[in-house]
């Protein structure tokens, strides 16, 4: 039973993890993209629609990644080239994404989707207690772990990652050193969009293989919170995602066990936990400021 619960938690945590990882890279480059929810839901409808029409969940995933990146390009163009307010633009992206995905998805509501098959590695996944958890989950779960490793490596062990972090910490001096701030930010934003799209596709292809309006149900916002309370460090995002997933699933189990606490209180635990962790993390002001990409959200216009 414990293994089954852990798998359920992993399924709940994976979309949060992927979306948050993408946004982490974006924010490390100094851009705040609040449009994660919109990009995720666009990924969800795209993944579902393409998978249903072609019969291949992988094509659906690919399409979702592309659409997520394209959608984020819209955000990038507005905030990086036209230098619009990042908060407002991100919100507009979310709104537009929710509306557009609803429109596109109208014909797909109520249809059973194509589910991505689990990666059931023979022999290994039969190991009692941990076999299925480690070797029998869906492919995207493994992708999410690889993603974390890749992002951590990129940010902290490569020159390109160093440049990206430099842009996020001080775009003016990065620019003075000849680094192309705008180009790096475009790249980061599109990576974030691709991740959000992937996370959305996960929802409609693995989590609940169907399409429903607004099926992201606020996960994009949770992903944003995760980035902050991970202090922009990749492995902490993993911890946060699993913690959040754990509380969400845990409260359902508590209910099933007949624990007498009102279900609304149990349902609000994940959000209260997020606030609590946010407060704890930011209590040390200097530490917070040290960890935050200093240029986060500030507009950058290169002067020529």
């Amino acid at each position: 039973m414990l293994e089954s619960i852990l798998i359920t938690i992993a399924t709940a945590a994976t979309p949060l993890l992927i979306a948050a990882m993408g946004e982490l890279v974006v924010e490390r480059s100094g851009v705040l993209n609040l449009g994660v929810e919109g990009m995720m839901v666009m990924g969800a409808i795209t993944g579902f629609a393409v998978a249903l029409s072609t019969g291949s969940p992988w094509l659906g995933v690919l399409a979702a990644v592309v659409v997520g990146a394209a959608f984020s390009l819209l955000f990038g163009f507005l905030t990086l080239t036209l230098v619009t307010n990042q908060v407002a633009t991100g919100l507009a992206l979310t709104l537009f994404g929710l509306g557009l995905s609803g429109m596109l998805g109208e014909g797909f509501v109520g249809r059973p989707g194509v589910k991505m098959a689990n990666l059931d590695i023979p022999v290994l996944s039969d190991i009692p207690f941990i076999g299925r958890l480690l070797f029998g989950q869906d492919p995207i779960f493994y992708l999410s772990i690889l993603l974390t490793i890749a992002v951590a490596y990129f940010l902290f062990s490569t020159r390109a990652g160093l440049k990206l972090r430099a842009v996020g910490d001080n775009h003016a001096s990065a620019h003075a050193q000849g680094i192309n701030v705008i180009a790096i930010r475009y790249g980061a934003v599109m990576f974030g969009g691709a991740c959000a799209g992937l996370a959305g596709a996960y929802l409609s292809l693995v989590y609940t293989p169907q399409w429903v309006e607004n099926m992201t149900a606020g996960r994009g916002w949770i992903a944003l919170a995760l980035v902050v309370f991970a202090s922009w460090r990749p492995w902490r995002v993993v911890a946060g995602a699993y913690l959040f997933g754990g509380v969400t699933i845990g409260q359902l189990h508590a209910q099933a066990q007949g624990v007498g606490i009102p279900s609304q209180l149990l349902s609000s635990l994940p959000y209260l936990a997020t606030i609590a962790v946010l407060v704890i993390i930011s209590r040390n002001r200097r530490l917070t400021l040290m960890n935050t990409p200093a240029s986060l959200g500030r507009p950058f216009v290169p002067d020529r």
Binding site: T84, F96, G99, E213, L224, R285
Partner: protein, 369 residues
């Protein structure tokens, strides 16, 4: 050949006025294209969306009912955003304000006189302000990101309302359905012109709040302080303005107005507390605030335009079969265009034909307008 942005030495007055209209025009064009794509006649679609709701008096009342909370909340948000405090939790403050404002009619239903309503409104404002003070305090004291804290608190507020209305505040005569008792007559916010429609005094509050805040922002020292701190915290410090005080001020004002919107909606339009009392006003108001370009008077217009798009969306649904999601997509597009066009106020767009120049161009020489 590429697009180049050249910063204007001064904000363009012309574009300050024109940009929202350009944005509106662009949205209409994009909307028309979208409708054509969906196989609907773009002209009729736009007519139903934007003109039909203006044709009947009862519809104008409905416009006021729909716009009132949007304007009230939006105006409060403008103070926040101008001072760089990103209050995304207005929806939660709306709900808590509705709850605190409803204490009297729900817990003391026998107390009925002329004082009930004003007290309710006051308590609503206090409740909203108190709830907004949480993210404000966390930001002022711990530098906790207010976007995330205020947003998480929205979910908490919604669940709290749900619990109240299903549990302790459930209507004893309501067959155990999740709703509070109906408010008695003294607790209902009256309609302004009852004969022609149901626009209630919440709309009047919205206009008054907008004018008041416009005045504060444009003509008082406090307003100046808001804008300075928003644009340059360092300059604010030099001016002797306290960052922490401004955070509290902005959130308290915004929370109070959201709370007022909440109790006005509940007592004017609904008449009781229910598990859902807002179709997302707190979030739509964010769009309204930006559409109104963070100017309280502009927000009045923006609120009406957005309310129009909701009403129009319904009209279009019935008459030409366009779904309600189109209204959302419209609103998103409108915001995009407004933001994009706003750029024109601060920057000139130049088409540069010549190849990239040499290193001397990087000396940071400002081109004059």
């Amino acid at each position: 050949m590429r697009l180049e942005l050249v910063r204007r030495p001064r904000q363009s007055a012309l574009f300050s006025v024109l940009s929202p209209f350009i944005a509106l025009a662009l949205t209409l064009i994009a909307g028309a294209i979208m409708f054509a794509f969906l196989g609907k006649n773009p002209v009729t679609a736009l007519y139903y969306f934007f003109i039909e709701p203006l044709l009947e008096v009862w519809s104008l009342h409905e416009l006021a009912v729909k716009a009132a909370p949007l304007i009230l909340i939006g105006v409060g948000l403008s103070i926040c955003y101008l001072s760089n405090n990103w209050n995304i939790g207005a929806e939660g403050q709306f709900i808590i304000g509705a709850i605190t404002g409803s204490i009297l009619p729900i817990l003391f239903p026998e107390w009925q006189n002329a004082f009930v309503l004003p007290l309710m409104l006051l308590m609503g404002m206090l409740g909203g302000a108190a709830y907004a003070s949480i993210p404000a305090f966390l930001k002022a004291r711990f530098s906790t990101n207010e976007i995330l804290t205020s947003l998480m608190l929205v979910y908490v507020a919604q669940l709290f309302l749900d619990w109240l209305v299903r549990g302790p505040w459930r209507n004893p005569e309501g067959f155990n359905f999740p709703e509070s008792r109906n408010f008695h007559a003294d607790a209902i916010l009256p309609e302004i012109l009852p004969a022609s429609g149901r626009a209630h005094w919440g709309f009047a509050f919205a206009i008054i709040a907008a004018v008041l805040l416009w005045f504060v922002l444009a003509k008082t020292l406090k307003g100046f302080e808001v804008k300075v701190i928003g644009q340059s915290p360092r300059a604010g410090r030099f001016g002797g303005f306290s960052r922490a005080r401004m955070i509290m001020f902005a959130f308290l004002v915004s929370g109070a107005l959201a709370g007022l919107a909440g109790i006005s909606e509940v007592s004017g339009a609904i008449g009781q507390l229910r598990p859902t009392i807002s179709p997302g006003y707190g979030f739509t108001a964010i769009i309204v605030a930006f559409l109104g370009r963070l100017n309280p008077l502009g927000i009045v217009a923006a609120g009406l335009v957005l309310a129009l798009s909701y009403l129009g969306g319904e009209a279009a649904q019935i008459s030409i079969g366009v779904s309600d999601k189109v209204a959302r997509a419209f609103q998103g597009m409108l915001l995009f265009f407004v933001l994009a066009c706003d750029m024109l106020i601060h920057y000139r767009v130049r088409l540069v034909r010549s190849p990239v120049r040499d290193a001397t161009a990087f000396e940071g020489v400002e081109k004059n307008a």
